[in-house]
Subunit: 206 residues, 2 copies
Protein backbone atom coordinates (compact mmCIF):
# COMPACT_ATOMS: atom_id res chain seq x y z
CA UNK A 1 0.00 0.00 0.00
CA UNK A 2 1.12 3.55 -0.70
CA UNK A 3 2.20 5.56 2.32
CA UNK A 4 -0.73 7.32 3.96
CA UNK A 5 -0.84 11.08 4.63
CA UNK A 6 0.87 11.97 7.90
CA UNK A 7 -2.29 13.48 9.32
CA UNK A 8 -4.22 10.31 8.67
CA UNK A 9 -1.54 8.26 10.44
CA UNK A 10 -1.78 10.55 13.45
CA UNK A 11 -5.52 10.10 13.60
CA UNK A 12 -5.27 6.33 13.18
CA UNK A 13 -3.04 6.30 16.23
CA UNK A 14 -5.65 8.31 18.10
CA UNK A 15 -8.52 6.13 16.92
CA UNK A 16 -6.75 3.09 18.22
CA UNK A 17 -5.94 4.54 21.60
CA UNK A 18 -9.42 5.85 22.18
CA UNK A 19 -10.97 2.58 21.07
CA UNK A 20 -8.68 0.62 23.36
CA UNK A 21 -9.59 2.87 26.25
CA UNK A 22 -13.29 2.50 25.56
CA UNK A 23 -13.10 -1.15 24.60
CA UNK A 24 -15.11 -2.31 27.58
CA UNK A 25 -17.48 0.62 27.73
CA UNK A 26 -18.76 0.73 24.19
CA UNK A 27 -20.55 -1.93 22.22
CA UNK A 28 -18.76 -4.21 19.83
CA UNK A 29 -19.56 -1.81 17.01
CA UNK A 30 -19.19 1.95 16.78
CA UNK A 31 -20.60 4.45 14.29
CA UNK A 32 -18.35 6.94 12.55
CA UNK A 33 -20.05 9.88 14.24
CA UNK A 34 -19.57 8.36 17.70
CA UNK A 35 -15.88 7.78 17.11
CA UNK A 36 -15.62 11.28 15.70
CA UNK A 37 -17.28 12.76 18.79
CA UNK A 38 -14.74 11.09 21.07
CA UNK A 39 -11.96 12.89 19.24
CA UNK A 40 -13.83 16.11 18.52
CA UNK A 41 -13.49 15.79 14.79
CA UNK A 42 -16.07 15.18 12.05
CA UNK A 43 -17.59 11.87 11.04
CA UNK A 44 -16.62 12.47 7.41
CA UNK A 45 -13.00 12.63 8.42
CA UNK A 46 -13.24 9.32 10.25
CA UNK A 47 -14.90 7.67 7.26
CA UNK A 48 -12.38 9.09 4.85
CA UNK A 49 -9.43 7.90 6.95
CA UNK A 50 -10.91 4.44 7.18
CA UNK A 51 -11.61 4.47 3.46
CA UNK A 52 -7.92 5.19 2.89
CA UNK A 53 -6.91 2.09 4.82
CA UNK A 54 -9.55 0.06 3.01
CA UNK A 55 -11.54 -0.72 6.12
CA UNK A 56 -15.27 -1.19 5.68
CA UNK A 57 -18.09 -1.20 8.15
CA UNK A 58 -20.34 -4.14 8.81
CA UNK A 59 -23.87 -3.70 7.51
CA UNK A 60 -25.38 -0.63 9.13
CA UNK A 61 -24.06 -1.58 12.54
CA UNK A 62 -20.94 0.53 12.27
CA UNK A 63 -17.30 -0.48 12.60
CA UNK A 64 -16.24 -3.62 14.41
CA UNK A 65 -14.16 -2.13 17.22
CA UNK A 66 -11.82 -5.05 17.87
CA UNK A 67 -11.21 -5.65 14.19
CA UNK A 68 -10.54 -1.98 13.62
CA UNK A 69 -8.00 -1.91 16.43
CA UNK A 70 -6.27 -4.92 14.90
CA UNK A 71 -6.35 -3.41 11.41
CA UNK A 72 -4.77 -0.18 12.62
CA UNK A 73 -2.15 -2.29 14.38
CA UNK A 74 -1.27 -4.02 11.13
CA UNK A 75 -0.78 -0.65 9.48
CA UNK A 76 1.20 1.16 12.17
CA UNK A 77 3.07 -1.57 14.00
CA UNK A 78 5.73 -3.86 12.67
CA UNK A 79 5.38 -7.59 13.00
CA UNK A 80 8.26 -7.86 15.44
CA UNK A 81 7.75 -4.51 17.12
CA UNK A 82 10.19 -1.61 17.02
CA UNK A 83 12.87 -1.02 19.60
CA UNK A 84 13.44 2.51 20.84
CA UNK A 85 16.26 4.23 22.71
CA UNK A 86 16.28 7.46 24.70
CA UNK A 87 19.34 9.63 24.22
CA UNK A 88 19.81 12.05 27.09
CA UNK A 89 18.60 11.14 30.58
CA UNK A 90 17.92 14.59 31.98
CA UNK A 91 14.61 15.38 33.70
CA UNK A 92 12.83 15.24 30.43
CA UNK A 93 14.44 12.03 29.20
CA UNK A 94 13.68 10.26 32.47
CA UNK A 95 10.07 11.47 32.43
CA UNK A 96 9.60 10.14 28.92
CA UNK A 97 11.20 6.83 29.84
CA UNK A 98 8.79 6.43 32.73
CA UNK A 99 5.90 7.56 30.61
CA UNK A 100 6.43 5.02 27.85
CA UNK A 101 7.20 2.13 30.14
CA UNK A 102 4.17 -0.07 30.40
CA UNK A 103 2.43 1.54 27.44
CA UNK A 104 1.98 0.22 23.94
CA UNK A 105 3.56 -3.13 23.57
CA UNK A 106 4.95 -2.87 20.05
CA UNK A 107 7.13 0.12 20.84
CA UNK A 108 9.66 -0.80 23.48
CA UNK A 109 12.19 1.45 25.08
CA UNK A 110 15.07 -0.95 25.43
CA UNK A 111 18.01 1.34 26.19
CA UNK A 112 19.06 4.82 27.25
CA UNK A 113 22.26 6.70 26.52
CA UNK A 114 23.95 9.44 28.50
CA UNK A 115 27.46 10.64 29.02
CA UNK A 116 27.13 11.37 32.72
CA UNK A 117 29.21 8.71 34.53
CA UNK A 118 26.78 8.86 37.44
CA UNK A 119 24.00 7.59 35.17
CA UNK A 120 25.85 5.07 33.03
CA UNK A 121 25.13 1.45 33.91
CA UNK A 122 22.32 2.43 36.25
CA UNK A 123 18.74 1.54 35.34
CA UNK A 124 15.76 3.92 35.20
CA UNK A 125 12.31 2.40 35.06
CA UNK A 126 13.90 -0.92 34.07
CA UNK A 127 15.84 0.73 31.25
CA UNK A 128 19.62 0.47 31.41
CA UNK A 129 21.70 3.53 30.69
CA UNK A 130 24.76 3.12 28.47
CA UNK A 131 27.60 5.48 27.62
CA UNK A 132 27.49 7.19 24.25
CA UNK A 133 30.56 5.25 23.12
CA UNK A 134 28.61 2.04 23.45
CA UNK A 135 25.84 3.23 21.18
CA UNK A 136 26.84 1.47 17.99
CA UNK A 137 27.18 -1.86 19.72
CA UNK A 138 24.00 -1.58 21.78
CA UNK A 139 21.93 -0.41 18.82
CA UNK A 140 23.10 -3.42 16.83
CA UNK A 141 22.66 -5.96 19.61
CA UNK A 142 19.21 -4.73 20.61
CA UNK A 143 18.00 -4.01 17.06
CA UNK A 144 17.09 -0.43 17.88
CA UNK A 145 15.54 1.46 14.98
CA UNK A 146 14.24 4.65 16.63
CA UNK A 147 15.84 7.16 18.99
CA UNK A 148 14.18 9.86 21.06
CA UNK A 149 16.57 12.78 21.49
CA UNK A 150 16.33 14.69 24.78
CA UNK A 151 19.86 16.05 25.10
CA UNK A 152 20.80 19.72 25.52
CA UNK A 153 20.31 21.55 22.19
CA UNK A 154 24.00 22.22 21.63
CA UNK A 155 24.77 18.53 21.26
CA UNK A 156 21.57 17.55 19.43
CA UNK A 157 23.24 17.64 16.04
CA UNK A 158 26.20 15.40 16.87
CA UNK A 159 23.88 12.99 18.66
CA UNK A 160 21.64 12.81 15.60
CA UNK A 161 24.59 12.23 13.29
CA UNK A 162 25.92 9.54 15.57
CA UNK A 163 22.50 7.88 15.63
CA UNK A 164 22.39 7.82 11.85
CA UNK A 165 25.86 6.31 11.78
CA UNK A 166 24.61 3.57 14.05
CA UNK A 167 21.88 2.73 11.56
CA UNK A 168 18.91 4.41 13.20
CA UNK A 169 15.94 4.83 10.83
CA UNK A 170 13.71 7.24 12.74
CA UNK A 171 14.29 10.15 15.11
CA UNK A 172 11.93 11.91 17.47
CA UNK A 173 13.64 15.18 18.35
CA UNK A 174 12.49 17.00 21.49
CA UNK A 175 15.30 19.53 21.56
CA UNK A 176 14.88 23.09 20.33
CA UNK A 177 17.59 22.49 17.76
CA UNK A 178 16.20 21.94 14.28
CA UNK A 179 17.82 18.97 12.55
CA UNK A 180 18.11 17.99 8.96
CA UNK A 181 18.34 14.44 7.87
CA UNK A 182 19.27 12.41 4.84
CA UNK A 183 16.15 11.26 2.97
CA UNK A 184 16.36 7.72 4.31
CA UNK A 185 15.90 8.79 7.93
CA UNK A 186 12.47 9.88 9.13
CA UNK A 187 12.45 12.88 11.45
CA UNK A 188 9.70 14.14 13.73
CA UNK A 189 10.30 17.26 15.80
CA UNK A 190 8.42 18.82 18.65
CA UNK A 191 9.17 21.96 20.58
CA UNK A 192 7.03 22.82 23.58
CA UNK A 193 8.27 26.38 23.80
CA UNK A 194 6.84 27.01 20.36
CA UNK A 195 3.54 25.41 21.40
CA UNK A 196 3.35 27.57 24.47
CA UNK A 197 4.19 30.72 22.55
CA UNK A 198 1.49 29.82 20.05
CA UNK A 199 -1.04 29.64 22.88
CA UNK A 200 0.23 32.97 24.20
CA UNK A 201 -0.20 34.59 20.79
CA UNK A 202 -3.73 33.35 20.19
CA UNK A 203 -5.07 34.43 23.57
CA UNK A 204 -3.60 37.90 23.26
CA UNK A 205 -6.11 40.69 23.33
CA UNK A 206 -6.37 41.92 19.75
Amino acid sequence: MEKLPGKTVERLSEYRRILLAYLDAVDDYIFSHDLAALLHITAVQVRRDLMLIGYTSVLKKGYDVKKLVRTIGVIIDSEEGQNVAIVGLGNFGRAITGYFKGKRSKLNIVAAFDNDPKKVSRTFYDVTCYAMEEMEQVVREKSISIVIITVPPVVARVVALKSIDCGIKGILNFTTMSLNMPPNVYLEEYDMVTSLEKVAYFIKET
Copy 2:
Protein backbone atom coordinates in the same frame (compact mmCIF):
# COMPACT_ATOMS: atom_id res chain seq x y z
CA MET B 1 -3.79 43.22 12.83
CA GLU B 2 -5.71 40.13 11.80
CA LYS B 3 -4.66 36.91 13.50
CA LEU B 4 -1.82 35.21 11.64
CA PRO B 5 -1.96 31.59 10.41
CA GLY B 6 -0.94 29.15 13.14
CA LYS B 7 1.93 27.80 11.08
CA THR B 8 3.35 31.27 10.63
CA VAL B 9 3.18 31.89 14.37
CA GLU B 10 5.06 28.66 15.01
CA ARG B 11 7.79 29.70 12.61
CA LEU B 12 8.00 33.20 14.06
CA SER B 13 8.67 31.59 17.43
CA GLU B 14 11.41 29.50 15.82
CA TYR B 15 12.91 32.45 13.99
CA ARG B 16 13.19 34.33 17.21
CA ARG B 17 14.78 31.52 19.14
CA ILE B 18 17.32 30.74 16.47
CA LEU B 19 18.17 34.41 16.05
CA LEU B 20 18.62 34.83 19.79
CA ALA B 21 20.88 31.80 19.90
CA TYR B 22 22.96 33.05 17.01
CA LEU B 23 22.80 36.69 18.05
CA ASP B 24 26.50 36.93 18.80
CA ALA B 25 27.68 34.67 16.02
CA VAL B 26 26.02 36.24 13.03
CA ASP B 27 26.30 39.75 11.68
CA ASP B 28 23.80 42.44 12.52
CA TYR B 29 21.90 41.56 9.37
CA ILE B 30 20.79 38.21 7.99
CA PHE B 31 19.52 37.24 4.53
CA SER B 32 16.30 35.30 4.15
CA HIS B 33 18.11 32.29 2.72
CA ASP B 34 20.53 32.17 5.66
CA LEU B 35 17.73 32.26 8.20
CA ALA B 36 15.90 29.63 6.16
CA ALA B 37 18.96 27.38 6.15
CA LEU B 38 19.16 27.49 9.94
CA LEU B 39 15.65 26.09 10.15
CA HIS B 40 15.81 23.84 7.10
CA ILE B 41 12.98 25.57 5.32
CA THR B 42 12.88 27.69 2.16
CA ALA B 43 13.80 31.35 1.83
CA VAL B 44 10.45 32.08 0.20
CA GLN B 45 8.68 30.89 3.30
CA VAL B 46 10.75 33.17 5.51
CA ARG B 47 10.05 36.15 3.28
CA ARG B 48 6.36 35.39 3.11
CA ASP B 49 6.09 35.07 6.89
CA LEU B 50 7.89 38.37 7.38
CA MET B 51 5.70 39.95 4.73
CA LEU B 52 2.66 38.87 6.75
CA ILE B 53 3.93 40.68 9.82
CA GLY B 54 4.80 43.71 7.72
CA TYR B 55 8.51 43.53 8.41
CA THR B 56 10.80 44.80 5.68
CA SER B 57 14.48 44.33 5.07
CA VAL B 58 17.01 47.10 5.00
CA LEU B 59 18.41 47.86 1.57
CA LYS B 60 20.03 44.73 0.20
CA LYS B 61 21.73 43.98 3.49
CA GLY B 62 19.03 41.63 4.72
CA TYR B 63 16.97 41.74 7.91
CA ASP B 64 18.12 43.64 10.98
CA VAL B 65 18.45 40.78 13.47
CA LYS B 66 17.87 42.71 16.67
CA LYS B 67 14.95 44.63 15.25
CA LEU B 68 13.41 41.45 13.92
CA VAL B 69 13.68 39.78 17.32
CA ARG B 70 11.97 42.78 18.88
CA THR B 71 9.27 42.85 16.23
CA ILE B 72 8.46 39.16 16.74
CA GLY B 73 8.32 39.87 20.46
CA VAL B 74 5.74 42.57 19.94
CA ILE B 75 3.61 40.13 17.98
CA ILE B 76 3.86 37.06 20.20
CA ASP B 77 4.39 38.42 23.69
CA SER B 78 2.07 40.51 25.75
CA GLU B 79 3.21 43.78 27.20
CA GLU B 80 3.07 42.53 30.78
CA GLY B 81 3.99 38.91 30.03
CA GLN B 82 1.74 35.91 30.51
CA ASN B 83 1.66 33.85 33.66
CA VAL B 84 1.49 30.09 33.34
CA ALA B 85 0.62 27.26 35.73
CA ILE B 86 1.41 23.57 35.58
CA VAL B 87 -1.40 21.26 36.61
CA GLY B 88 -0.11 17.84 37.62
CA LEU B 89 3.36 17.46 39.12
CA GLY B 90 4.20 13.93 38.04
CA ASN B 91 7.51 13.14 36.35
CA PHE B 92 6.41 14.90 33.26
CA GLY B 93 5.03 17.98 34.99
CA ARG B 94 8.18 18.39 37.03
CA ALA B 95 10.39 17.97 33.97
CA ILE B 96 8.46 20.67 32.15
CA THR B 97 8.64 22.97 35.15
CA GLY B 98 12.40 22.61 35.25
CA TYR B 99 12.63 22.98 31.51
CA PHE B 100 10.78 26.27 31.33
CA LYS B 101 12.41 27.80 34.37
CA GLY B 102 15.05 30.22 33.24
CA LYS B 103 13.81 30.28 29.65
CA ARG B 104 11.85 32.97 27.86
CA SER B 105 11.17 35.84 30.13
CA LYS B 106 7.68 36.78 29.01
CA LEU B 107 6.22 33.38 29.82
CA ASN B 108 6.57 32.68 33.50
CA ILE B 109 5.57 29.54 35.32
CA VAL B 110 4.31 31.03 38.55
CA ALA B 111 2.45 28.13 40.14
CA ALA B 112 1.85 24.39 40.10
CA PHE B 113 -1.19 22.41 41.19
CA ASP B 114 -1.43 18.86 42.41
CA ASN B 115 -3.68 16.92 44.74
CA ASP B 116 -0.94 14.84 46.32
CA PRO B 117 -0.56 16.12 49.91
CA LYS B 118 3.12 15.23 49.77
CA LYS B 119 3.63 17.80 47.02
CA VAL B 120 1.32 20.58 48.13
CA SER B 121 3.12 23.60 49.60
CA ARG B 122 6.50 22.28 48.53
CA THR B 123 8.43 24.10 45.82
CA PHE B 124 9.89 22.58 42.65
CA TYR B 125 12.41 24.63 40.73
CA ASP B 126 11.25 27.71 42.63
CA VAL B 127 7.63 27.02 41.75
CA THR B 128 5.23 26.50 44.64
CA CYS B 129 2.73 23.66 44.48
CA TYR B 130 -0.84 24.38 45.56
CA ALA B 131 -3.80 22.09 46.14
CA MET B 132 -6.44 21.95 43.42
CA GLU B 133 -8.99 23.59 45.75
CA GLU B 134 -6.82 26.70 45.85
CA MET B 135 -6.78 27.05 42.10
CA GLU B 136 -9.40 29.74 41.68
CA GLN B 137 -7.80 31.96 44.27
CA VAL B 138 -4.22 31.45 43.07
CA VAL B 139 -5.15 31.99 39.42
CA ARG B 140 -6.80 35.26 40.33
CA GLU B 141 -4.05 36.50 42.65
CA LYS B 142 -1.24 35.61 40.28
CA SER B 143 -3.07 36.63 37.08
CA ILE B 144 -2.53 33.25 35.45
CA SER B 145 -3.90 33.01 31.92
CA ILE B 146 -2.42 29.72 30.63
CA VAL B 147 -2.29 26.23 32.12
CA ILE B 148 -0.19 23.28 31.04
CA ILE B 149 -2.03 20.05 31.80
CA THR B 150 0.10 17.05 32.72
CA VAL B 151 -2.30 15.05 34.88
CA PRO B 152 -3.33 11.42 34.30
CA PRO B 153 -5.69 11.23 31.31
CA VAL B 154 -8.73 10.18 33.36
CA VAL B 155 -8.83 13.50 35.19
CA ALA B 156 -7.79 15.69 32.25
CA ARG B 157 -11.34 16.69 31.48
CA VAL B 158 -12.34 17.82 34.95
CA VAL B 159 -9.05 19.68 35.31
CA ALA B 160 -9.68 21.48 32.02
CA LEU B 161 -13.22 22.41 33.04
CA LYS B 162 -12.00 23.65 36.39
CA SER B 163 -9.34 25.73 34.67
CA ILE B 164 -11.93 27.35 32.44
CA ASP B 165 -14.07 28.09 35.47
CA CYS B 166 -11.09 29.86 36.99
CA GLY B 167 -10.87 32.12 33.96
CA ILE B 168 -7.99 30.49 32.10
CA LYS B 169 -7.75 31.61 28.46
CA GLY B 170 -5.33 29.08 26.98
CA ILE B 171 -4.56 25.41 27.58
CA LEU B 172 -1.61 23.31 26.54
CA ASN B 173 -2.75 19.71 26.94
CA PHE B 174 -0.06 17.01 27.17
CA THR B 175 -2.39 14.20 28.19
CA THR B 176 -3.64 11.59 25.76
CA MET B 177 -7.19 12.67 26.46
CA SER B 178 -8.61 14.83 23.69
CA LEU B 179 -10.40 17.89 25.06
CA ASN B 180 -12.98 20.19 23.59
CA MET B 181 -13.27 23.76 24.58
CA PRO B 182 -15.67 26.63 24.33
CA PRO B 183 -14.68 28.98 21.50
CA ASN B 184 -13.22 31.59 23.85
CA VAL B 185 -10.52 29.24 25.16
CA TYR B 186 -7.54 28.41 22.96
CA LEU B 187 -6.43 24.78 23.08
CA GLU B 188 -3.18 23.23 21.91
CA GLU B 189 -2.68 19.48 22.27
CA TYR B 190 0.34 17.27 21.94
CA ASP B 191 0.62 13.54 22.30
CA MET B 192 4.05 11.96 22.14
CA VAL B 193 2.73 8.44 21.69
CA THR B 194 1.13 9.54 18.45
CA SER B 195 4.40 11.16 17.34
CA LEU B 196 6.32 8.01 18.10
CA GLU B 197 3.80 5.82 16.31
CA LYS B 198 4.02 8.13 13.31
CA VAL B 199 7.79 7.62 13.21
CA ALA B 200 7.25 3.87 13.53
CA TYR B 201 4.82 3.87 10.61
CA PHE B 202 7.01 5.86 8.26
CA ILE B 203 10.12 3.78 8.80
CA LYS B 204 8.26 0.54 8.27
CA GLU B 205 9.50 -1.53 5.38
CA THR B 206 6.98 -1.03 2.58
